[in-house]
């Protein structure tokens, strides 16, 4: 009743090729974006904005990046943390050495550096596939982190090796470092998220995205219909690493305020991979849902007893958190092996018939 596609005729090519063809979908996405841009900074508390939404949004970018590579192009990667680290270290290096460069240029630039590194580590993907490729990207994970820790040039020879985020401003509002205003920081991250999500969505339904999916589904068949595997796979690696690099740069500069190697260790790679798997492979929405699920659920489980006025020892809560988190992952994977995005799709299908299901 409320949600339906029947009777919506497209009369022009541009209407037919719109990103969201169903008006209800379009309005919903517009409303959500508007709420995120205007509503959240007005009403949300500092904790919600800086400690919850900022990291979730940044991890969504990383999940989008991995989704491009793994979900759309079918190349399994365990190097997400390393590509994030590349973005973080190079953003710091560029920002502190070319101080006149605006920060909104620095971060995509760091993303491009990460993309170049991604291409280098993506080269073996032409020869090796599946789990073997995962191991090759694992090499990237260990090598790059080792490199950034080993070579003090990346941190401007800082004695401690953990330099703080350089304070930078956009339109006179400081957006990086700890002294940045909450709203400014949040909106800065959100701007990247909106732009990158929009690009990802369009890439996925463009020629390049379709060639990724063809490679994913059957590479020999794709080759036979004229898709060149090397540029296709490398473009997926490049764009994926670009997203991860931007996410890493934002994580270091806007969230933890210092460039720290342990923030990008192998656990981060797994965390992002789980986001993509739980959220839904090959889905932009799934990247967001997965990031929210994997990052927020532990915090939610950890704080929940406090909200209902129930006091439990902090270590007990954490142990319960681990157990429940594991159980919930299994639960969702059993109920919906195609990820949370698929659940949303099912909900939409049900809504089409509601309230008269047959």
């Amino acid at each position: 009743m409320l949600y339906r596609e029947a009777g919506q005729f497209k009369t022009s090519y541009s209407a037919d090729q719109a990103m969201l063809t169903i008006p209800l979908d379009r309005w919903f996405v517009f409303a959500l974006t508007a709420f995120a841009v205007i509503g959240v900074p007005l009403f949300a508390s500092e904790y919600l904005m800086v400690s919850i939404l900022v990291p979730v949004l940044i991890l969504s970018i990383a999940a989008l990046g991995l989704n491009i590579l793994t979900g759309y192009c079918g190349q399994l990667s365990l190097g997400t943390g390393a590509f994030m680290a590349a973005g973080a270290y190079l953003a710091y290096k560029i920002a502190t050495n070319i101080t006149w460069l605006p920060i909104w240029v620095v971060i995509p630039l760091a993303g491009l550096c990460a993309a170049a590194i991604g291409i280098a580590f993506g080269l073996p993907s032409l020869r090796i596939k599946g789990f073997y490729l995962a191991v090759a990207t694992l090499a990237a994970q260990f090598f790059l982190l080792w490199l950034f820790v080993k070579v003090p040039w990346f941190v401007n020879d800082s004695i401690s090796g953990v330099p703080p985020a350089p304070p930078r401003s956009v339109f006179g509002f400081q957006v990086t470092g700890a002294a940045a205003g909450n709203e400014a920081k949040y909106l800065f991250v959100l701007a990247f998220v909106i732009a990158l999500a929009w690009i990802a969505r369009n890439l996925a339904r463009s020629r390049i995205g379709r060639s990724w999916m063809a490679i994913r589904d059957m590479d020999i068949a794709a080759e036979l219909v004229g898709i060149r595997p090397l540029p296709t796979k490398l473009s997926a690696f490049a764009i994926s690493s670009f997203y991860c690099g931007v996410a890493g740069a934002l994580w270091a500069l806007c969230y933890i305020n210092s460039v720290e190697p342990t923030a990008f260790d192998i656990n981060r790679s797994f965390q992002v991979l789980f986001m993509v798997i739980v959220g839904g492979l090959g889905s932009v929405l799934g990247s967001f849902l997965g990031a929210a699920f994997i990052f927020l659920l532990p915090i939610l489980l950890n704080s929940a007893p406090g909200w209902i006025g129930y006091s439990v020892a902090s270590d007990t809560i954490t142990h319960i958190e681990f157990m429940l988190f594991g159980v919930l992952i299994i639960f969702f994977l059993i109920v919906e092996p195609h990820g949370l995005a698929r659940l949303w799709q099912i909900a939409k299908e049900k809504l089409r018939l509601w309230p008269f299901p047959y």
Partner: protein
């Protein structure tokens, strides 16, 4: 699918409850306790957290708080993970009228919080860990790392080794081993060792231990067996320490030539190795055991932790940490109004003007536990000598030396250089401390 709906409804309810939240109105001197009682670093995290929180409970119950202002302690478990630590800090900092001071017990988390806490005007007391150059109070007004920094500790440990070997000249040509946790914490003293190595003409091999577990050390000890270093120095934490001590005992290394820093020398670290650990040495700045007046007061008190770690080195250190905060609050009240809640900014002033003499410490019943401490605006690591060396005798830690001073002439210029670089990168104009 009724169960499915029920679960969904439950999740929805939990999210809704979270959005509303419950505001607690309780007022008092609020202590956000960032703890890690789970994960590979729990062996160090549990006793420090217990000592830390117990001391506040003791003050509340024995003295009724500081001039009637009681402490409210709330724990947040973060598992020694930097991002969760930042989240915990944000979750707690504004509760109950605002945080008094924060002690994260993690160098990584301290690094991430330095700018944040400074902006929020919450002092950080990273007692003997964290960013060493924060000892320069001109650049880091809100960060304190007394009673001594890692760099001071590193030089004092080298001084001790030199004393053992017969003078600083004897270090020349020696080969040492440095085992450390591959984390900002473990890497912190490396620049100091580099300078010392150059200055005194010794060499040392670096053995990083992976952060994720801390237990993968077989290859490290194989290499040590081969290179036969004159002394081993360790910057370890959590389960890594116990593993290292066990491995050293396994290769029959002379334990009296194996020295841990003050986070690598507690009961939890030596007990698993059994008799093999006898002779292992460690740095410390606080005493262990329960033969102190303050433990008499704790007997029979309710609401205290019950993990059987009372009197261990780390438990006592947690208490010392809390005692510093309590004394800073007392000092702040003297200046800004007795019997009133003091803000983080006022506690910051108190930390900077803290001057605990031997008599003060006697009055607190903490003689032997807490070192004499004097902090100044310029020097946030305090002016007291750095370390004592303690040795494990199979049952207890025995302090075997007098206070060993740091080589301030080496450390202080390094601190000022690093602080100046930090100030430059962050557009901070250092304060004038001469006033």
């Amino acid at each position: 699918m009724l169960t499915k709906k029920l679960v969904m409804a439950g999740v929805a309810a939990a999210i809704a409850a979270g959005a509303i939240g419950v505001v607690q109105a309780e007022e008092g001197q609020f202590i956000p306790a960032l703890t890690y009682r789970t994960g590979p670093y729990a062996p160090g995290g549990i006793p420090t957290a217990n000592g830390y929180t117990d001391y506040f409970h003791l003050i509340n119950q024995r003295d009724g708080g500081v001039n009637g202002v009681k402490f409210i302690v709330e724990e947040c478990e973060y598992g020694y993970k930097t991002d969760r630590g930042v989240e915990c800090y944000d979750r707690l900092k504004d509760k109950h009228g605002g945080a008094t001071a924060v002690s994260p017990y993690s160098t990584g988390t301290t690094y991430a919080l330095i700018d944040k806490a400074t902006a929020d005007k919450v002092p950080i007391l990273s007692m003997g860990y964290g960013r060493t150059s924060a000892a320069d109070g001109r650049v880091f007004p809100y960060v304190f790392n007394f009673p001594a920094t890692y760099w001071s500790q590193a030089t004092a440990v080298m001084q001790y080794i030199a004393n053992e070997m017969g003078g600083l000249e004897a270090l020349k040509g020696q080969r040492f081993a440095f085992i450390y946790l591959d984390h900002p914490y473990g890497k912190e003293p490396i620049p100091t060792f580099d300078i010392l190595a150059e200055k005194f003409g010794f060499t040392y091999d670096k053995y990083p231990v992976p952060f994720a577990t801390g237990t993968e050390q077989k290859s490290v000890w194989l290499q040590i067996r081969r290179t036969k270093p004159a002394y081993i120095i360790m910057w370890g934490w959590g389960v890594m320490n116990a593993t290292a001590v066990k491995e050293a005992a396994n290769i029959k290394f002379d334990m009296s030539k194996f020295i841990g820093n003050w986070w690598s020398a507690s009961e939890q670290d030596v007990l698993p190795a059994g008799d093999g650990a006898i002779g292992y040495k460690g740095a410390t700045f606080n005493g262990s055991g329960t033969d102190y007046k303050v433990f008499e007061d704790m007997k029979g008190m309710s609401g205290l932790s019950d993990d059987g770690d009372r009197g261990t080195v780390l438990y006592n250190r947690g208490m010392v940490n809390a005692a510093y905060i309590v004394e800073a609050v007392r000092l702040a009240q003297e200046k800004y109004g007795e019997g009133k809640r003091v803000t983080g900014e006022q506690v910051r002033w108190a930390f900077e003007n803290l001057d605990l003499t031997a008599e003060d410490i006697e009055g607190l019943g903490l003689t032997g536990l807490m070192p004499v401490t004097k902090v100044t605006c310029l020097n946030h690591e305090g002016t007291n000598p750095a370390i004592l060396i303690q040795q494990w005798n199979g049952k207890a830690w025995e302090i075997i030396t007098d206070w060993i001073p740091a080589m301030t002439d080496v450390v202080r210029p390094l601190i000022e250089q690093d602080a100046a670089q930090y100030a430059k990168e962050n557009n901070i104009t250092p304060r004038d401390c001469s006033a």
